[in-house]
């Protein structure tokens, strides 16, 4: 009797999961099929005559292309480098110092950044950027994004840094190395996987950012792809499915490639600290 019941409940579970997955998978499937269909609609269907016409049209839109291939790279790349650099140095410092309340500081940072994030901080951030003359600059966007991503990044890096035994650095100190040299020769090579994780995570987050760029940037020339997507809407405010899907496809591809790259190079072993 028990066997029957468990098989039955397993079947229900699988059916339920499939239904949920279908729900999430549909938009993705649409993204894979729609761009190649010159007469695409909201339905997920294989194109009768697959063609690259949509892409050709998209590439004619200078504004959108510049947005994607230049602005997005600047913003996401900038955020990636800044977050990786600052988070690594910060977590290294936090890990190696003995200040009272150090652990609480990190947890409080994490907490605050999740509570006072994005929308809630919009007005103060705008005012701050305005006074610093960072409105409508990529630098401003990168800085704000870094600020938002940093607490979680530091939190992630700390595990990697903590896993380096202190005796490594002490041995290097005795060998005659100074702190910067120790960081370069010993600490950094050993946390490189962690830095890669944080860098990619920051890149992916910044790549999809919409709110901060749309608030902080003014001129169309500076807008990233998330904003430029709206240039493929008709004057009436409805999306032009062919172009939107093609552009979204282009927008998603870099992240997909990155995912495959990371999977190939690191194999998703990074949670739990890597020991080579």
């Amino acid at each position: 009797m028990r066997d029957y019941e468990s098989t039955f409940s397993k079947v229900i579970l699988v059916l339920f999961s499939m239904a949920c997955m279908a729900f999430f998978a549909l938009p993705l499937l649409w993204l894979l099929t729609a761009p190649f269909n010159p007469m695409t609609t909201l339905a997920v269907e294989l194109p009768d005559e697959p063609s690259l016409d949509n892409f050709r049209t998209v590439f004619k839109n200078e504004f959108a292309i510049r947005a994607l291939f230049r602005n997005n790279l600047i913003i996401a790349g900038g955020a990636m480098l800044t977050v990786a650099a600052v988070a690594t140095l910060a977590s290294y410092g936090l890990s190696r110092t003995r200040i009272a309340g150090r652990d609480i500081l990190v947890y409080v940072l994490m907490l605050f950044s999740s509570v006072v994030g994005g929308t809630a901080a919009m007005v103060p951030l705008f005012l701050l950027a305005y006074h610093l003359k960072l409105i409508d600059t990529h630098v401003g966007v990168v800085l704000v994004m870094t600020g938002g991503l940093l607490p979680a990044a530091i939190f992630m890096m700390r595990d990697f840094v903590d896993s380096i035994p202190r005796s490594y650095e002490e041995a290097a100190l005795v060998c005659g190395a100074g702190p910067l040299r120790i960081f370069r020769d010993i600490a950094f090579p050993l946390v490189r996987p962690g830095v890669a994780v944080v860098a990619i995570w920051a890149f992916v987050n910044a790549w999809g950012a919409f709110l901060i760029p749309v608030v902080m940037l003014r001129s169309p020339n500076n807008m990233p792809a998330s904003v430029a997507l709206y240039s493929f809407y008709s004057e009436a405010g409805t999306p032009v499915h062919t172009l939107v899907s093609a552009y979204a496809f282009l927008y998603a591809v870099p992240v997909l490639i990155l995912y495959l790259l990371v999977n190939w190079k690191f194999g998703f072993r990074f949670f739990g600290g890597i020991k080579s």
Binding site: S167, Y168, E170, A171, V174, C175, G176, R181, D185, L190
Partner: protein
């Protein structure tokens, strides 16, 4: 080659005093072991000498130079760590040569020097491997090689043999002693293993709770412990410590259960320090007791508790009142003992300790 001097060194970590007013001098070329249980302050003392910790009070001299405020790299020291601290992402060649690289020595010179030292330590053909690819013993030797390559004046060892298995430990111990004697460098060696300290050191500093309990040649520390802590810590099996009372008039030492030890002929040995007193502890090593089947002058009655064969000797554990007394018998045949025997103590090798645990002399 240099001497080391610690003057009234104190180190606190918050409320905890790890090293309490320790003064110590290590002569040029001497091998001093800091011995004690976990938390006694020996590793902290070593780290203070290295410059990895800064003392709250006191001064440290290496050679004739005061080094108290100086970072490790300016102290001309080399250190071998318990976990070897070999960098996993570098080859052994780069690991051992790191001190030279940091000092700007040319690559060819570095390779030459590292090869020399590595060959001496029998790891010369492993230089292209990473630490993770060699055995524990080889890692340990690589760690020592890195210290040698420094050509520093002082060598500091932080329990370097703890991570090796028992057999390897004995081999490595002999190797380290030979090395230190050959190179003749001043060495400070931290360990919790008293046999290791006895075997390696020219002098041992036994530490507990941040204090040096006794400092001396291994045989002095062994034969004449200055307090009950040292008495119990050094020697395996440890010294027997029996609570007793002294009665000078009667010339006896009294144990629980009215057992008495006649010391009337030995009063001069303890001189004026011997007074009537309770809370006295008598200490005698298991090899300084002999067993008699009959009552003989100067012996204590006891009951045989258990007899253990140890191979080259026998360990007979007896009961005196509630206390267990161990006796080592060096003989091949099994000792034939009745249940009640008498323990004859070698009074020249017997010590009395007052209620604070200090030697009465």
């Amino acid at each position: 080659m240099a001497k080391i001097q610690l003057e009234h060194i104190t180190k606190k970590f918050g409320e905890l005093t790890a090293v309490d007013d320790v003064s110590l001098e290590v002569s040029d070329g001497e091998f001093v072991a800091l011995l004690g249980p976990s938390g006694c302050g020996k590793t902290t003392t070593l780290r203070l000498i290295a410059g990895l910790e800064v003392p709250n009070a006191g001064r440290i001299f290496i050679g004739d130079r005061e080094v108290t405020g100086l970072p490790p790299r300016e102290r001309d020291i080399a250190m071998v760590f318990q976990d070897y601290a070999l960098y996993p992402h570098m080859t052994l060649l780069d690991n051992i040569g790191y001190p030279l690289k940091v000092r700007g020595v040319s690559k060819s010179d570095m390779v030459a020097r590292v090869s020399d030292v590595a060959t001496e330590l029998q790891i010369g053909d492993l230089l292209e491997r990473r630490p993770g690819q060699v055995s524990g013993g080889q890692q340990q030797r690589a760690s020592v090689a890195r210290a040698l390559v420094h050509q520093a004046q002082v060598f500091l060892f932080d329990e370097p043999l703890s991570n090796l298995d028992a057999k390897l430990r004995l081999e490595a111990r002999a190797f380290l002693k030979h090395l230190q004697q050959e190179v003749g460098v001043t060495a400070v060696y931290v360990t919790h293993d008293q046999a290791e300290a006895m075997a390696l050191a020219d002098r041992i500093a036994v530490m507990n709770h941040g204090h040096v309990m006794q400092l001396g040649h291994p045989l002095d520390v062994y034969r004449r412990p200055a307090n009950t802590f040292v008495a119990a810590f050094i020697g395996s099996p440890p010294m027997n410590l029996l609570p007793c009372e002294v009665d000078i008039q009667a010339g006896k030492i009294l144990f629980e259960g009215d057992r008495a030890l006649d010391i009337s002929g030995y009063r001069e040995r303890w001189g004026g320090a011997l007074k009537n007193g309770r809370d006295i502890t008598l200490g005698v090593r298991p090899e300084n007791i002999s067993i008699s089947a009959t009552e003989i002058p100067g012996s204590i009655p006891s009951r045989v508790y258990v007899v253990q064969p140890l191979g080259g000797e026998w360990l007979v554990v007896t009961q005196v009142g509630a206390e267990l007394v161990s006796v080592r018998l060096f003989q091949d045949e099994a000792p034939e003992l009745a249940e009640h025997v008498w323990l004859k103590l070698d009074l020249d090798r017997t010590f009395l300790y007052d209620k604070n645990g200090d030697l009465l002399q």
